[in-house]
Symmetry: C2
Subunit: 384 residues, 2 copies
Amino acid sequence: MSIVARQRDPNLASIGTCDRRVAGSRGRFRVHSKKRITSFDIAELAGVSQATVSRALRGDPSVSEDTRRRVEAAATTLNYTVDKNASNLRSKLAGTLALLFFDDPTPDDSHINPFFLSMLGSITQACARQGYDLLISFQELGRDWHADFAESKKADGIILLGYGDYLTHASRLEKLRAKGTRLVSWGAVRPDQPCITIGCDNFSGGRAATEHLLDQGCRRIAFLGDASRHFPEFQERYRGHLQALRTRGIVPDDALQVDAESSQSSGRLALKTLMARAEPFDAIFAASDLIAIGAIGALSEHGIDVPFEVAVAGFDDIPMASYVNPPLTTVQQDTRRAGEMLVDSLLRLIHNEPVASRMLPMKLIVRRSSLWQEVPRAESPREA
Amino acid sequence: MSIVARQRDPNLASIGTCDRRVAGSRGRFRVHSKKRITSFDIAELAGVSQATVSRALRGDPSVSEDTRRRVEAAATTLNYTVDKNASNLRSKLAGTLALLFFDDPTPDDSHINPFFLSMLGSITQACARQGYDLLISFQELGRDWHADFAESKKADGIILLGYGDYLTHASRLEKLRAKGTRLVSWGAVRPDQPCITIGCDNFSGGRAATEHLLDQGCRRIAFLGDASRHFPEFQERYRGHLQALRTRGIVPDDALQVDAESSQSSGRLALKTLMARAEPFDAIFAASDLIAIGAIGALSEHGIDVPFEVAVAGFDDIPMASYVNPPLTTVQQDTRRAGEMLVDSLLRLIHNEPVASRMLPMKLIVRRSSLWQEVPRAESPREA
DNA sequence: CTGAAAGCGCTTACAG
DNA sequence: CTGAAAGCGCTTACAG
């Protein structure tokens, strides 16, 4: 045994001939000074092979309990950490998920949309619970986005997040899929989605919000939000809205739909556009809370009272919604659950387990912005 | 040249003897089918050595323009992406920063503190601008946190974020530093900080808020927030608060300070504690907006009007602050700037450039929650 | 300006 | 249960 050790360390032979103080001075041999501590160092200290160190540290069941303990002790002593790059290179796994975040940096708020911030938080936490790291990357929507994480082996899979214009993405998503990239996205759950998608039940949410406004006695409900194919989630909400109207025998009026993207400034602008049309309206269903909050601001500038003159409902239930004045009625999306589902689905994809797109239930949260009952309404506009 | 090629690919020799169809059928040689495309494939296609491919793709100036173009074309053709694990393993750089996020998961809000969410957003964006990826990791404050990113070579440096009890961290930070880990933290900028720290000018912020409240005529200003060494940022704000009082000749009253951590529920609780003490107070300076918002909620439950009976100021200027009722006077921290500074400082550290801790200027944002002037106050409590 | 060769620090068949 | 050996896909001196 000692012979083996001697063979391994040529310096050992010279110790006998060394001055005692020199030999005693640390660093005479084993001069790891600036060198990284590797599994070989642990192996030497624990008296096992490097391969065994690797197995022990990864919890391979074939390693004996006794050996594992010795290896772990040695690793602790030397303050050793496995080099992830080497480990990933060999195993072809990264232990990391990537979040591609698409944000249209609207000029007014350099702040990120609070809804997505909340999603981001829940995704991060879900990853942590699963023992994965999360790599975050912002992608400006306009630019050519690169999702090299998977190909470059930095991440095992990708989560796409953002109000996306999926039409412009479709070809890229297809390309990624062709390469075998594991991919899940947050968005509108539809049969034609190019990848596994987790999303809120936008249709039911839109219907519930509009039904609620109808229940309040509103008859001319404006929809603020881009209802085109470019914003499938908004479009679903709009479809739900239309369905609620039709079920009650109300003919939708195109003049009451104004495009808007999810920001306060856009909501404010949409309200002004709506006012300029001089169409009477008694309620607003905004495709997102930010739009709703912007619209409420514009309404109050026009001296229009919410909810007594115009009832307002939003979508998302961002934290701010319960603090605006009046508190905002909205459709809540369970971001915590959403984050969990996204991470869970992606991991299933990575492990080649069956996965399907899924729709998460929404919940209508009624707050003061939509409540007319308190004061009976004098002159509510009739249907044209 | 063709001889070299022949040596490289033993299959080449047999082509002549093969049935034409077999030789023609793709996959007879070069069976990359499931194999990853590597720099060797690019080298072959571009007619250069693998080393040259590596140089060309990294933009090494020694590569000729012509060669670079050929290599890039080949890479595009084969849809090649550099394997980051291999590249990092060799170069010992990750192109990634890690964000260790310390959050005390308070029972009431599973949501992340909005202030940090905003910091997270700005840090992510700053990283993107610098061409770095960001690895995010949640650390529960109570637990033994592991910052293995640097050692495991997944990240080139670490940003620490969170209202930290730095005393409990100090030893760990020291250990990391000893290992040579690049580290910057967000927090209280003090001479005794164990690492480079970027932070708001909490002292001036606290002073400004209290001076403002004094200017409004308030005389008994309660401070809601943990003012112990365990929350250095809150402590600085408290110190600023005390200084403002003393400058005006007001003797601080310990009975007006109530511990609270940054959450609404904690703010609510602190307000109740304060009320239970039966000490008169005419204003509240909360160490954070969340505390302030919680306190306002509790005040309104007690039928106490804000701002006419009690003026309130917070700290942070989270997005919600301008939407609560009444809108909250607060001390704004420039999160965008903060994120930039953190990333910038960390990169300087990584590049061995000189860096120093820095304090960012704050800005008092006066909103309605602190404004008494509108209605002259009847019975303001006198100093004891 | 380019190539041949070594090696980063692991994991994983293959043996025993 | 453990070891010897190969090799993951790059980067980087070292030559020329």
